[in-house]
């Protein structure tokens, strides 16, 4: 057992730090209001500001959007631990570091797509030229995802899609839908689903952004009206999509912005140190110290769960239950951190970033709202617990 990083890994971490210092605009990390593990303040990255575009291009040039991918697919050919180090550092600076295509779509295509699909998509994804959005949920199919009704009908060389998706984060600023559709309504629900890629620009696709409680257009409802896609856009085999989806969901659950927790915690601690209340620094109040220590401890626990998943991937082990444990723990930590922030800041915690007298750019105020999405998106905490219990511990479903 060895909890130290190798020399090579430490050197890589430094390389990432140097890159960020050089390429990320000076005040980005302070002003960026992203709350760790929330899904509602991601919107900022998806907004195509020139700075995000440029930074992403620089990352792509280094193969860093797809660090653990083999060189042949445009990756840097590094280890999963190095990829985790990269994401930990990127998220510490709240920097853009890839999105659904690079972290979910691409890895899933690499596992299940045929050679034609890999050639068509992977290099473009690695270059940061395409963005995917997740077209999973429907108005009547959220946690019960296998009950989706969006239908794809076989039409020779194409599929024709009709239906509706909802809650797709960043659909309005992406190029392609990474989508689950029902291709065989006669089969049992899990066995009649296919995973397909749909061009947002295809005729019949209507995207309507929805405003979340944080005040951002982060997610969308999207309507598909006789949308035609070529069959080569089916990922893997038709009607095997549920299986691929489970793997894609694990990839999603592994993509936790660990550094963001550390950074946000440091900012709250700094606030507590600098702010006086009743004649002493807030950080000297025993109850506040206790709560801050509790956060530091839980962030440590979370880090260990995070590194574990990278270590497993490097040993070709599948972090299945571990991905759910990581997602569950870190998202609930997101909520606890927001609560702690509010306790530390008191009245000031309720001020929005634009308000006079606000601190930390209103991050805690926004975080209290965004953390609600953390326990719901990418599989609710209840679903994660079901997975841990049934798939992980072998408890019966009935």
């Amino acid at each position: 057992m060895d909890f130290a990083f190798s020399e090579r890994e430490e050197a890589f971490r430094k390389e990432v730090e140097d890159f960020v210092a050089k390429e990320l605009p000076g005040d980005w990390v302070e002003k960026n209001i992203y709350w760790p593990a929330g899904y509602g303040t991601l919107a900022q990255f998806e907004e195509l500001s020139p700075q995000v575009e440029q930074f992403t291009r620089r990352l792509a040039e280094k193969g860093w959007l797809t660090i653990s991918w083999p060189n042949e697919y445009g990756g840097a050919g590094l280890s999963h631990t190095e990829q985790a180090i990269f994401h930990e550092r990127m998220s510490y600076y709240r920097a853009p570091a890839g999105e659904i295509a690079t972290r979910i779509g691409g890895p899933t295509i690499m596992l299940f797509g045929n050679e034609e699909m890999k050639k068509e998509w992977l290099p473009r994804i690695a270059r940061g030229e395409v963005r995917f959005w997740l077209a999973y949920s429907e108005p009547n199919a959220g946690s019960d995802l296998s009950s989706i009704q969006t239908r794809a009908i076989d039409d020779g060389d194409d599929l024709i899609i009709n239906g509706q998706k909802i809650w797709g984060t960043a659909a309005h600023v992406s190029h392609y839908a990474w989508m689950v559709v029902r291709t065989d309504p006669t089969a049992p629900p899990h066995k009649g689903i296919s995973l397909v890629i749909v061009d947002n620009a295809a005729p019949g696709v209507t995207i309507r952004p929805l405003m979340n409680i944080c005040g951002f257009y982060s997610f969308n409802e999207v309507f598909f009206d006789n949308v035609r896609i070529p069959k080569r856009n089916i990922v893997g085999e038709m009607n095997k999509g549920w299986y691929y989806l489970m793997v894609a969901l694990d990839f999603e659950r592994l993509a936790i912005p660990m550094g963001g927790f550390r950074r946000t915690f440091e900012e709250i601690v700094q606030y507590a140190r600098e702010t006086k209340r009743n004649g002493q620094a807030v950080s000297q109040e025993p109850l506040i110290r206790n709560r801050l220590a509790n956060m530091a401890i839980q962030i440590e626990v979370a880090y260990m769960l995070f590194w574990q998943t990278a270590w497993m991937l490097d040993r070709s082990l599948v972090p299945n239950i571990e991905a759910s444990l990581l997602k569950l723990f870190t998202t609930e930590l997101s909520q606890k951190l927001a609560n702690t922030g509010m306790q530390v800041m008191g009245h000031y915690g309720q001020l929005e970033g634009t308000s006079k007298w606000s601190s930390l750019y209103g991050r805690v105020c926004l975080g209290c709202l965004d953390c609600i999405s953390a326990l719901v998106g990418a599989g609710t905490s209840e679903i994660q617990r079901n997975i841990i219990a049934m798939r992980g511990l072998g408890l019966p479903s009935k």
Binding site: M1, F3, N290, L328, E382
Partner: protein, 377 residues
Amino acid sequence: MDLGLSEEQEMLKKSARDFLQKECPKRLIRQLDESEGGYSSELWRRMAELGWMGLVFPENYGGSGRNFLDLAILLEEMGYNILPGPFFSTVILGGLTILAAGSEEQKTELLPKIARGEMVLSFALTEPSASYDAASVKTKAIARDGEYVIKGTKLFVLNANVADYILCVARTRGTTDPEDGITVFLVDARSPGLTCTLLNTLARDKQCEVIFDNVTLSGKSIVGKRDEGWPIVKDILQKAAVAKCAEMVGGAQAALDMAVNYAKERVQFARPIGSFQAIQHYCANMAMDVSGSRFVTYKAAWKVSEGLPAALDAAIAKAWVSEAYGRVALSAHQIFGAIGFTMDHDMHLYYRQAKAAEIIFGGADFHRAIVSHELGL
């Protein structure tokens, strides 16, 4: 980074699990809990034969020369099975103190005896104030003609009633700095003036009141340097906290395993109760607690093993695991329902362990205070 066990470590873990399952069944545990001595000398002898006592002592002192991480793995198995007896006080509190601070003469004389299972040790630190800070050490050791006379009361002293020697933390000099002027003494348990009374505790773990009524010691009984004993105590408290965490991780795993197995078998409403979401969610929470606890514990143990500064990691581990084991034990009880509330059932044995372990060497709040201090808050 390597989060797996070596082959040697896997073997140690498995052999310990199998040995304890066979040689220390719950039936024996209950017997020992009810007994005054609290341990089986036959089992003790066999553990010594396996090299468990001397696991981390250097080979020239009769040990196996393995490291603290290996010891943590062994302790996890002891926690998994529950192992009544003075292993912890003898090896961790006593043995590691002598190893770290004893003179060459003391190490040569005592460590091989401990390794052979021929000596039981106890560590008398806490007093009626029940605190782990230096200012709470009020037991006095007064120098007189090259000897020392100890007077005071120690409380919550593990296994003092069966110890051959008791390490006593006493104040040899009163100064303005409470951490100055403390000395660690090795006291023969049969010394005149030393009275031991067994306390009846939740975990039946043989904690004692030890009264030192003018117990006279030679100057040779000092471990380390006179007046400079507090750093020794701090160091051993840190190691003990991590060692206790390793035990707790084992216990929490056992509680989880028991509860999950029961949930699969117990049928109510015509289905196994493990098919109900509330039960599944308790189990998932427990799995999360066990997993996180294991990592922070082994990270701290690794730091101790490597001789790296471990104050922050030890405090993180003890704070977290103290509460995690408690949560796991309560959730497991919840799954067992009424049957778990019976004396005959094994679940309460783990719950008792969890409560005792939570407190000893400082509870969660105590260690969170250390964390905030170490973080410079």
